[in-house]
C-alpha cells in the first residue's frame, strides 16, 4: 500500500483549519506546528498574483531526513516518512538536511508530520484532511490521488494557464502531490529539491567500507599478532643464547 496526500493550492483558502486540527488532534506542544499557512504575493506591481503557502512535510520518497537519520527514528512506510520519536537521539541531522525545512526540535527530539499514522491505521483520515472546508486536501491510494491531481490540473487550466501537478518527480516523488496555479518557483517551491549527494556517499559508501576496514584489521591483526609474538620470542631466545650470557632477558617479566 502506498498512500499520498493531495494538496490543491488553487482550492486552499488559507483558513488555517488544518493547522489547528493537526495541532489539536496530534496534541502538539505549544510552539510546534506541522503546518504553517502564509500568504504570498509574487510578480511586480501592478501585475501582482496572490497565493497561499501551505508549508508542511511533503513526504519525499528519496527523503534527505531518512537518509541522514543515524538511528532509524525516521523511516519510510506506506509511501510516507514516519518518525519514531523514542528512537531519536536528538542529533538534528534531519533539521539540517531537509530541503523543505520541515523537521523541528521539541523537547530535545525531532518532530514532524507522520501522516497521522495511528489515526490512519485505525481506519481514520488525517486530521488536516478531515477538517479542510474547501476540498483542498485529500488522502488515499497514490494512484487515485495522482489521477485526481491531474484531473484538477486539467480543469483549472482555463483559469490558470501555468497550472500543474508538483511532486511526481521531485525527491524521488513526493507523498504529497500538489496542484499548483503557477510554476513552482513562483510559489516558493524548488523545481528540483537539492538532496546532498555527499550524504549518500557518507551513508552508503564510506560507512560500510570504514566498518569493514575496521573488522578486517582487527581480524588480520589478531592472526598476525600470534605469529609475530612467537617470532619475537624466538628472536629474543636466540639473542640470549647467542651472547650476552650474563645479561638476562627481562622481557617476559610481568610487572
Amino acid at each position: 500500500m502506498s498512500s499520498s496526500f493531495l494538496l490543491d493550492l488553487t482550492a486552499c483558502i488559507g483558513c488555517d483549519g488544518c493547522t489547528v486540527a493537526c495541532k489539536t488532534g496530534n496534541e502538539l506542544p505549544q510552539d510546534v506546528s506541522y503546518i504553517r499557512i502564509s500568504e504570498r504575493v509574487s510578480g511586480t506591481f501592478p501585475n501582482l498574483v496572490g497565493s497561499i503557502d501551505n508549508h508542511r512535510c511533503l513526504h519525499c520518497a528519496d527523503a534527505a531526513c531518512v537518509n541522514v537519520c543515524p538511528t532509524g527514528a525516521l523511516f519510510q512506510e506506506d509511501g510516507l516518512t514516519r518518525l519514531n520519536a523514542s528512537a531519536c537521539s536528538g542529533c538534528q541531522y534531519c533539521v539540517q538536511a531537509c530541503p523543505f525545512d520541515v523537521p523541528v526540535m521539541a523537547n530535545g527530539v525531532a518532530t514532524k508530520c507522520d501522516g497521522c499514522r495511528d489515526v490512519v491505521r485505525a481506519g481514520g483520515t488525517p486530521w488536516c484532511v478531515t477538517t479542510c472546508p474547501s476540498n483542498a486536501l485529500m488522502f488515499g491510494e497514490r494512484a487515485d490521488i495522482a489521477a485526481e491531481a491531474h484531473a484538477r490540473a486539467t480543469t483549472m487550466r482555463a483559469k490558470y494557464p501555468n497550472g500543474q501537478v508538483y511532486g511526481e518527480s521531485q525527491a524521488g516523488g513526493l507523498g504529497v502531490l500538489l496542484v499548483l496555479p503557477d510554476d513552482p518557483e513562483q510559489l516558493g517551491l524548488p523545481r528540483d529539491p537539492d538532496i546532498p549527494r555527499v550524504t549518500e556517499a557518507w551513508q552508503d559508501f564510506a560507512q560500510p567500507i570504514g566498518l569493514g576496514a575496521i573488522g578486517v584489521s582487527v581480524l588480520g591483526a589478531g592472526v598476525a599478532a600470534v605469529i609475530a609474538r612467537r617470532n619475537h620470542m624466538n628472536e629474543m631466545r636466540a639473542l640470549e643464547e647467542a651472547g650476552a650470557g650474563a645479561e638476562g632477558n627481562d622481557d617476559e617479566v610481568t610487572p
Binding site: D194, I214, E235
Partner: protein, 244 residues
C-alpha cells in the same frame, strides 16, 4: 628530560630498566585511551545501525560530549605538565633521518616480530613517528570537525553538515585503524610495562632504540661526571678551608 611533578630515576640502579615514559606522560596517555574509547563507543551507534538503539534518548550524545572535553584537554594538560615531552614528541614525529627511512623500507620484518637487524632507531622508531604524526593530524581534524558540528548543530546547511560529518568520520576511521596497529605492536613486543611502570627492559630498548639508549646513557654518564666533579671541588674547598 626533566619532569617537575614526579621524579623517577632514568636508569634503575641495577641498570636493567630504563625510563621510557614519565608519570605525566603515562597519565595523559591513560586519559587519551579512556576518552578515545568512550568517544568511539558513543559515536559508533550513529553509524552502525544495529547499535542505534544505544543512541535513542540522546544519552550517548551527552557522554560523547563529556568524553570530547576530556579528549580536547589532552594537549592542554600535556603542555601544562610536561612541556618538554610535548615539544619532543611533536618535533620527533615530524623529523626523519636516513636510518628512519631505511627502517621504513624494512618495516615488514618489524611487523612480524623481528626487531634485531633493523636500522638503529632513536627514542621513537620511524613507525612510531608516523603513527604519532598521523594521530596529531587526524586528532586535530576530528576535534575541529566535531567542535564545529557541536557549536553549529541545527543551523548548518545540509551540504556543510554532510562534509563536516564525512571529515569527522573518516578522521575517526583513521584513528581507530591506528589504534588497532598500536595495540598490535603493544602485544607483539609486550610493551605495556612502559605505560604501567614507565620502565622498559634495557635489553629490549638496546635492540629497538639503540640510538636513544646510547643518548640516555651518555647523558647519565655526563650527569654523573658533573656530579663527581662538583663533589671533588667541594671536597677540595673543604680541605682548603680546613687548612686555612
Amino acid at each position: 628530560m626533566s619532569d617537575t611533578t614526579f621524579k623517577q630515576p632514568v636508569i634503575t640502579e641495577d641498570g636493567e630498566r630504563i625510563l621510557r615514559y614519565r608519570p605525566a606522560q603515562r597519565y595523559i596517555h591513560l586519559l587519551v585511551a579512556v576518552t578515545f574509547v568512550a568517544l568511539f563507543l558513543t559515536g559508533l551507534p550513529l553509524i552502525f545501525e544495529p547499535l542505534s538503539f544505544l543512541a535513542a534518548g540522546g544519552y550517548s550524545r551527552i557522554l560523547h560530549r563529556v568524553a570530547a572535553v576530556g579528549f580536547m584537554a589532552v594537549p592542554i594538560l600535556y603542555f601544562l605538565f610536561d612541556r618538554e615531552g610535548m615539544k619532543e614528541l611533536i618535533k620527533e614525529s615530524f623529523t626523519y633521518d636516513k636510518d628512519d627511512l631505511r627502517w621504513l623500507t624494512h618495516m615488514g620484518r618489524y611487523f612480524l616480530g623481528n626487531a634485531s637487524d633493523m636500522p638503529p632507531q632513536g627514542r621513537l622508531n620511524a613507525g612510531q613517528k608516523l603513527h604519532h604524526a598521523a594521530v596529531i593530524i587526524l586528532g586535530t581534524s576530528v576535534v575541529f570537525s566535531g567542535v564545529f558540528a557541536w557549536i553549529s548543530a541545527g543551523t548548518m546547511s545540509d551540504t556543510l553538515l554532510s562534509w563536516t560529518m564525512l571529515v569527522h568520520n573518516v578522521s575517526m576511521l583513521g584513528l581507530v585503524l591506528l589504534l588497532i596497529g598500536h595495540i598490535y605492536f603493544t602485544v607483539v613486543y609486550k610493551a605495556l610495562t612502559s605505560m604501567h611502570t614507565g620502565y622498559v627492559p634495557t635489553v629490549d630498548a638496546r635492540i629497538e632504540h639503540s640510538k636513544w639508549v646510547a643518548e640516555v646513557e651518555a647523558a647519565e654518564a655526563e650527569a654523573r661526571a658533573a656530579q663527581e666533579r662538583l663533589e671533588e671541588a667541594r671536597r677540595r674547598a673543604a680541605q682548603e678551608t680546613g687548612q686555612g
